[in-house]
């Protein structure tokens, strides 16, 4: 059995880079001990991706304010998912895309590779996990859904109306985005990153900008870090509308009958998966990248981190309603301090470098890592949507709920398909 190792024990006086990340190169045994450390709850798994001929893993320790990127120079490497289940889909995806080999991977079915890519066609059936028991039936749903939403497949096993298990199969909107970054210039990278998940385009672009600035040592002009807009008039209306929605919601028992105790995410699961955004905060995980690993302009504005503890649809809804109030507060403060100034700094000479950033999107933290080649072009860009760690929790949340409540649970998570399919 591998002994877990805490991130703090590995730091050993190292300093973080300009992006706040410490970069540490390790050998496979330490890598495995850190993976076991994730499982033991000593630190959070923030991202896991293949880069060049090796693997990278972003780990964070919120309590100590530590962020690291662990580098392992091996394509055959000890599987993280063997110790820590939240890494499973990430490892399956990287295996499909880059041919890396996580040794001991508990589930070797492909994830993004559906056997349709030219040159990699396969007739092999995708086997869903077996479910045994009396009176069970399966309901396959998707990839094309009934509403105006993204495609994905949901395999329900139900007993009567009650969902016994949900298994997701995603990857339908895999566009090969990561491969398009390779060799592209920084400007083209901005076009791509903003289209990985259209509903979080600002957060992605922001994280990418942070990462590129860190990689090049590009100084940020103060005004750059403040969103601009003629929005003051709208703020009041927004605040009023929010209160009205809250009033209606609070006075409708028939609505609450659907949401309260529906689709529960346990605090333990939210912690294990380091679930970001309202999915985590509604289950008591007090994490918001703007607070925990703060960045401008959020480090200078006042707002509260809103959490709930019940982890149900109701809690997620209420956290989001609360957050609208906080957002109105933030925008108000930013407008008060708006001042003229340059919005773009001189670009430094192109060169090699690495940078990473964690930016809070509406759905949770988006992680972006950028590596620049010596000619200043992009060598590797990886973006990890918050959905990677939220989708699996949806599988757990619908267990024991009725089939008809699945859309409610799904929408209360509001995960991105495109962002997680890459």
């Amino acid at each position: 059995m591998t002994e877990p190792r805490a991130l703090a024990d590995l730091i050993d006086g190292r300093m973080a880079g300009p992006d706040g990340y410490m970069r540490i190169s390790v050998l496979p045994p330490i890598w495995e001990e850190l993976a076991a450390g994730c499982a033991a709850g000593l630190h959070d798994l923030s991202a896991l991706w293949a880069d060049g001929k090796g693997m990278r893993m972003a780990l964070s320790d919120s309590a100590r304010g530590l962020r690291t990127i662990i580098d392992l120079k091996a394509e055959d490497y000890p599987s993280v998912a063997r110790h820590h289940a939240p890494a499973l889909r990430l490892e399956r995806a990287m295996r499909d895309l880059y041919g890396v080999n996580p040794i001991g991977l508990p589930d070797t079915r492909p994830w993004l590779d559906h056997g349709r890519w030219p040159g990699k066609e396969s007739e092999q059936r995708y086997e869903f996990l077996p479910v045994e028991g009396e009176g069970l039936h399966q309901i396959p749903v998707g990839p094309v859904h009934a509403g105006i939403i993204e495609p994905g497949h949901f395999r329900f096993t139900a007993n009567g109306e009650t969902v016994v298990r949900l298994e997701q199969r995603l990857g339908y909107v895999h566009k090969g985005a990561e491969s398009l970054f390779v060799g592209a210039d920084i400007e083209r990278g901005t076009l791509l990153i903003g289209r990985l998940s259209g509903d979080s385009t600002v957060a992605y672009a922001w994280a990418y900008a942070h990462a590129v600035e860190a990689a090049l040592g590009w100084p940020v002009t103060p005004r750059n870090s403040v969103g601009i807009g003629r929005v003051r008039g709208l703020l009041g209306r927004l605040a009023t509308a929010r209160l009205e929605i809250q009033r209606v919601y609070d006075s409708m028992p028939s609505l609450q009958d659907r949401t309260v105790t529906t689709g529960i995410v346990s605090p333990a699961l939210a912690r294990q998966y380091a679930a970001g955004g309202f999915v985590g905060r509604a289950a008591g995980r007090a994490f918001d990248a703007r607070k925990v690993f703060s960045y401008g302009p959020y480090d200078t504005v006042e707002f509260d981190l809103k959490t709930r503890s019940t982890g149900d649809v109701d809690a997620r809804l209420l956290v989001r309603l609360d957050e609208i109030g906080e957002s109105v507060r933030i925008v108000g403060q930013l407008l008060d301090r708006l001042s003229p100034g340059p919005i773009r700094g001189e670009s430094p000479a192109p060169g090699e470098g690495e940078g990473a950033a964690l930016v809070e999107a509406f759905r949770g933290d988006v992680f972006v890592s950028v590596r620049l080649a010596s000619d200043g072009r992009l060598a590797r860009v990886h973006a990890r949507d918050a959905s990677w760690f939220q989708w699996p929790l949806l599988e757990a949340a619908v267990e024991g709920n009725i089939v008809a409540d699945f859309p409610l649970c799904n929408k209360s998570f509001n995960c991105s398909y495109s962002g997680a399919d890459l």
């Binding site: 990839p143 105006i148 495609p151 339908y172 566009k175 398009l180």
Partner: protein, 171 residues
């Protein structure tokens, strides 16, 4: 309960009476669209949306044409849950290899006469994803396309205008 009944009487409909005065263009287009749709197709035109690899930006704009500001259902245009109920397939995204089969099955499940609208730059020419090995190619290479609505993403008004153009051409 009593307060709801009271509100229902006092406040009336939550849906806007029509497009805001600032948007005469919308009013004109929407009315013309409604009349032509009725003449051509009786009372309604049913649309099935298929995301064939979109980043979900186009979906947000399509949602907008259903919101109270644009509210295209007033004019007999409605989104349906099954391709078997649809007259129009509204397709977004650069068509990924992983979605190709599901898209073709949806097309085959749609009864004739049917029209295909390619929505957004991705459906037209793969947009920023052109050249990716995971992408099949523009929608027109996979099925006959009757109309392209360009934009990344196209704003709601352009979507409404596009649907009008489709009905005019087919009418």
């Amino acid at each position: 309960m009593r307060s709801f009944l009271r509100d229902a009487f006092l406040k009336g409909m939550a849906t806007m009476a029509g497009p805001a005065p600032g948007a005469p263009e919308l009013e004109e287009v929407a009315r013309a669209l409604g009349e032509r749709a009725r003449r051509r197709l009786g009372r309604s035109l049913s649309i099935r949306e298929v995301d064939a690899g979109s980043c979900n930006g186009c979906e947000l704009e399509i949602h907008a044409i259903n919101n109270p500001v644009y509210d295209i259902e007033r004019f007999g245009l409605k989104f349906v849950a099954s391709p078997r109920h649809a007259d129009v397939l509204l397709v977004t995204g650069p068509v990924t290899w992983n979605m190709r089969e599901a898209l073709l099955r949806t097309y085959n499940a749609t009864p004739s006469p049917k029209w295909v609208v390619a929505l957004g730059d991705c459906a037209a020419n793969c947009g920023v994803f052109a050249g990716s090995p995971a992408v099949v190619g523009p929608l027109a290479n996979i099925m006959p396309v009757d109309l392209h609505i360009r934009g990344c993403p196209p704003p709601p008004l352009d979507i409404v205008k596009g649907l009008l153009a489709l009905i005019e051409a087919k009418g």
